[in-house]
């Protein structure tokens, strides 16, 4: 799905989290929102997911105005920073949550839910852990379960908030490839937030560098490396 961000601004009380920013994300792209903390990248992601609403500006999904759509109507697969798995549910029930939450008319039957959950567990390469609880999983496993849970609702896009933030360096590297593979397999427009420029440069098709609520540069990783647009970008990516 093509996502168009049109002059989106966000204020929290008297502080400005986002100055009007505009951005066009082509369908099927894997995009990194890169910047230090406080740059507004998470706010932008949450606005796309419908968890925050902009003070002004519009969001367009496939050229349709989506600014006023509720979080449920957005159908965005959202992976939270510390995963926010439901701690009192098994991995199976976590992944099945979105399917069970559908209105009765469009809810798949039990056998179909079983089939889909098992298929997603295969996709994240953790077919054995359906009966476990989140506290019994490693950090990397939790991240992949959170991804599977987000994919279960057949989302229109995938939004990931610091998906590798809570992991150690080795697992981080492995899961980067995992995210790339899942993105390529599903073809979903995917946007992830990170403060790690290596991660952004290595993984994304398109990198959006942000600072203090503004977009500093949008470009392919190689272009940003070769031609940083501002002094901030030059310093931040260490070019």
């Amino acid at each position: 799905m093509h996502i168009q961000i049109d002059e989106i601004a966000k204020e929290f009380g008297t502080t400005t989290a986002l100055h009007p920013v505009s951005l066009s994300i082509p369908s099927g792209a894997l995009v990194a929102l890169l910047g230090p903390s406080g740059s507004g990248k998470t706010t932008l992601l949450r606005i796309l997911g419908g968890l925050e609403f902009p003070t002004s500006g519009r969001v367009l999904f496939n050229s349709q105005d989506a600014t006023g759509l509720s979080v449920q109507e957005r159908r965005a697969g959202f992976v939270f920073q510390s995963y926010a798995l439901f701690r009192h549910m098994t991995v199976f029930d976590n992944i099945a949550y979105g399917l069970n939450a559908r209105p009765r008319a469009s809810r798949p039957n039990k056998a179909e839910i079983d089939r889909r959950v098992l298929k997603l567990l295969d996709l994240i390469q953790l077919p054995q852990i359906a009966a476990r609880y989140p506290t019994q999983l490693s950090g990397g496993q939790r991240q992949r379960v959170a991804l599977a849970r987000a994919l279960a609702i057949e989302p229109r896009m995938l939004l990931l908030d610091e998906p590798f933030g809570a992991l150690d360096a080795k697992v981080r590297k492995e899961l980067r490839q995992g995210l790339r593979d899942i993105h390529d397999e599903t073809g979903l427009t995917s946007i992830f937030v990170t403060h790690d420029q290596d991660e952004a440069m290595e993984l994304a098709d398109l990198v959006v560098v942000m600072s203090m609520g503004r977009i500093e540069q949008i470009g392919k990783p190689a272009d940003i490396r070769a031609r940083p647009a501002t002094e901030f970008v030059r310093e931040f990516i260490g070019a």
């Binding site: 968890l51 510390s82 439901f86 009192h88 939450a101």
Partner: protein, 298 residues
């Protein structure tokens, strides 16, 4: 430091090695003193009075104690206390959940003020709370006069006792829930929303299961306190024997009338109710230890 040096240092011959204490361990004398203070204090302040209540109640044997509890006034007091508790506790559970939800899941002006307001019944004397209810709803106020005239008196009747009990026990559930809900944050609720769940479904399937232990604990504390409330109820009830006298009020009446066995039998029964709630809590905690450690992190 290489890995090999550490075990070697610890493997000194036990006979000659001085015994090292870990940093958080106290000296034997300090430990002994702390244990003595804790057990001694507990025995003196909790154990002895508890034993005394039961001993006094059974002074003339089981027969006398049971007979005193079977009297008309005693029966009426027990029924009233159970009725008041059955009304006040569910009300406070609902209020408590609503207040904690409101405070922890939303940002708004005056939040600190609201939290202070919830704590007010803890700091205000129950007698003052009772007087406030009498002033508001008593026969001398416009509202109270009308209520009495229309045949629905609040003061010196059951509704007044319910109001007083609800007021006094208001903070228990909210106070238990607020820290738990703050610690759990909003991420799980937000995740459920992004997965398409409606607000009510999120509450039922995510929020409530995550707070159930704190809710249970708060409810049990609230129950124990609701059964035992004296001050506020003493003011609003009018202490009408057989009608508005709850168990604590009846205990006082019996005691003042030198009906020692009756007073202490009822005191023992009230204590028994309180112990039962604590027992129930412990049993549930033991039985669901796994789920408890998964949902609660303190």
């Amino acid at each position: 430091m290489s890995d090999a040096t550490l075990p070697k240092m610890q493997a000194r011959p036990a006979a000659t090695a001085p015994r090292f204490r870990s940093a958080t361990e106290e000296s034997p004398a300090a430990r002994g003193a702390l244990i003595a203070i804790a057990t001694g204090g507990l025995a003196l302040l909790v154990g002895a009075p508890l034993a005394a209540v039961f001993a006094e109640a059974l002074m003339q044997g089981w027969g006398a104690a049971v007979a005193s509890l079977a009297s008309r006034d005693a029966q009426s007091a027990i029924r009233l206390t159970l009725l008041i508790t059955a009304i006040a506790v569910p009300l406070n559970a609902v209020f408590g959940i609503a207040a904690a939800w409101f405070i922890t899941k939303f940002d708004f002006r005056g939040k600190a003020f609201l939290i202070t307001l919830i704590d007010l019944p803890f700091s205000i004397s129950p007698v003052v709370a009772g007087l406030c209810i009498v002033l508001l709803f008593g026969a001398n106020s416009a509202l109270g006069g009308w209520l009495v005239a229309s045949g629905h008196p609040i003061v010196f009747a059951v509704p007044g006792i319910v109001l007083a009990t609800v007021f006094v026990t208001f903070p228990f559930v909210a106070r238990e829930l607020i820290p738990v809900m703050i610690e759990q944050g909003r991420a799980e609720e937000e995740a459920a929303l992004t997965l398409g769940a409606t607000g009510w479904r999120v509450f039922r399937t995510v929020t409530l299961p995550n707070i159930r232990w704190a809710l249970l604990y708060g409810t049990l504390l609230c129950t124990a306190r609701a059964m035992g409330e004296f001050g506020a109820v003493a003011v609003v009830s009018g202490k009408i024997r057989g009608q508005t006298a709850t168990m604590p009020i009846t205990i006082e009446m019996f005691y003042n009338e030198y009906l020692s066995v009756a007073a202490f039998s009822m005191a023992a029964l009230l204590t028994g109710f309180a112990l039962l709630t604590l027992l129930l809590k412990t049993a549930l905690e033991l039985r669901h230890a796994d789920a408890l450690s998964a949902t609660r992190r303190h």
